[in-house]
Amino acid sequence: MGMAERKTERKTIKREGPVIDSIPIIYKHRIPISKTVKYWDGLKEGKIYAVRCKSCGAVYYPPQADCPYCGSSDIEWFELPKEGVLETFTRIYARPQGYEDFEPYIIAIAKVGDVRVMGWLVNVKDERCVKVGDEVTLSTAYIEKHNKYIITFQLKNKQC
């Protein structure tokens, strides 16, 4: 065996043997949204809501109805602006269970007003042309497979 061949031999620990299949277990959760229902309803109307503590002024996004810092649960909802600036992003090629049917999607975080918002950056062919600092506009979109509304970003001043 020559040197070149030896170099390509890649020792990996992979030990297999007989297996049995477990009894499958399926988890479907009913998630309570009583305290944040305004947010979920807002998405249906294309609006993104955050929360402000009336007692101490703390802002929460994602929203939460209790303010741990001052102990108050007296909060007000306010709508976030529809524009933001990209802080970072990635395109998900290796997709998880439940998302296999989607084309590789871009998850981005944008600074929107005083908070940061996660969303899918849509209508982008080549993620290499997107840059941190790019301006985006915000909307919401219905995802039928999961019966949910999500936040979407679109690049404002360029096409990629």
Binding site: S22, E87, T88, T90, I92, A94, Y99, I107
Partner: protein, 388 residues
């Protein structure tokens, strides 16, 4: 702390795809070695701490079956979980239970079987780490995706390059190739890394640690017990620093470093009166190449933003400022979540005892080592400082 605590025995299974063993059988490989290394039997152990994320194996509550199989029924276990930092959390609990006087000798076990489910399920389980409701549910986050968010921001702000990221894998594979317990025992080139398929852009397959089965264990004892047992090569736990950060990644301060690392490191340095420049050998949390770059900076080995340069200059290699991941790291050795933190301890104890293979033993003068273990995407941070 009210008394000194030392590590007197360590063990680690062979890491990799271990379709040949159950979680119990896998844990036993590490436990057996750790007991033999300490010269003890189950009778000498007063309590076991079992660390396992436990989200991918068929045993839903893995601690008790693991404990029974290894012969520790009646003696614990305390089960802890801190995602990818689970092993360090197990060590921290064992350390406190000895330091408090609750017990004199404890065993920390870390074990994970990750290959019993398929990759899509594994990605879902990882993506649900951190925050399901506001992130995974809406956007299908994955674990590589989270670190990719950090990579993108770090590259944009500091000009860190894909080549610099690749160099981390190249260095770590150089040592993994010499580690008979590593999952990937071969070297790679920068080109190999750059040409591997995208997983979560800008991270490619070789920027990512794999899905690994493995176990590691450490026997912990008080100074008195160490004297009574006539152990002559203890490695002392100088300090454990811990911290955490927000579940929601959108609430983080920035995406160019991990606050959990910085705070945990500060705590550990302060408690031990040791400075970054004193550290001679370190195992840092390189679940992804970008993570090792950020770790250099957040641990204070180099200033923020210069991590790419640090690897390029060889400062994290043997002969540099600090020898990092001579085990091969999570990238080369594998990353079985519950085991990882204790596998770092295994490696560093062996390093401090100067028992490593030729070519991957760090040269030591001060005999000071540091383990850096992150859970989730900066959700947990542990920094442990060891000294022989």
């Amino acid at each position: 702390m009210f008394r000194k605590v030392g590590i007197i025995g360590v063990g680690q299974s062979v890491f990799g795809v271990r379709g040949d063993v159950t979680i119990q059988e896998l844990a036993w490989e590490a436990v057996k070695e750790a007991l033999e290394d300490a010269g003890l039997t189950q009778r000498d152990i007063e309590i076991s701490i079992v660390g396992s994320a436990g989200t991918r194996t068929y045993e839903l509550y893995p601690a008790v079956p693991v404990n029974e199989y290894s012969g520790f029924s009646e003696k614990g276990p305390i089960r802890v979980e801190a995602a990818c930092a689970t092993g360090s959390a197990a060590l921290a609990v064992a350390y406190n239970m000895v330091a408090s006087g609750f017990v004199d000798v404890a065993l920390a076990i870390g074990v994970e079987k990750m290959n019993e489910v398929d990759t899509a399920t594994s990605l879902a389980v990882g993506g649900r780490g951190g925050n399901y409701l506001w992130e995974y549910h809406f956007y299908g986050t994955t674990f590589p995706g989270y670190y990719a968010l950090y990579a993108t921001a770090h590259m944009a702000k500091f000009g860190t390059t894909e080549e610099q990221l690749a160099l981390v894998r190249v260095k770590n594979q150089k040592y993994a190739a010499k580690n008979p317990k590593a999952q990937f025992q071969f070297e790679v080139t920068v080109d190999d890394v750059l040409k591997s398929r995208p997983v979560a852009w800008p991270l490619k397959l070789y920027d990512c640690s794999a899905i690994t089965d493995g176990a590691a264990a450490a026997v912990i004892a008080s100074e008195d017990a160490i004297k009574n047992l006539h152990i002559d090569t203890p490695v002392w736990i100088e300090a454990i620093g811990y911290a955490s950060d927000t579940a929601n990644i959108t609430k983080r301060e920035d995406y160019v470093g991990l606050k959990a690392t910085r705070l945990a490191a500060q705590m550990a340095y302060k408690k031990s009166h040791i400075e970054p420049k004193d550290v001679e050998v370190a195992e840092v949390h390189d679940c992804f190449t970008i993570a090792e770059i950020m770790a250099y900076e957040d641990l204070g080995f180099v200033e923020k933003g210069k991590g790419g340069k640090f690897i390029e200059e060889g400062q994290s290699d043997i002969g540099g400022k600090v020898a990092v991941n001579l085990s091969g790291g999570l990238l080369g050795k594998g990353h079985p979540l519950g085991a990882t933190g204790l596998a770092m301890i295994y490696e560093l104890v062996k390093q401090l005892r100067e028992e490593r293979e030729r070519g991957r033993q760090a040269p030591l003068k001060k005999y000071i080592a540091l383990a850096h273990n992150i859970g989730g995407t900066g959700h947990y941070g542990y920094v442990t400082i060891l000294r022989r």
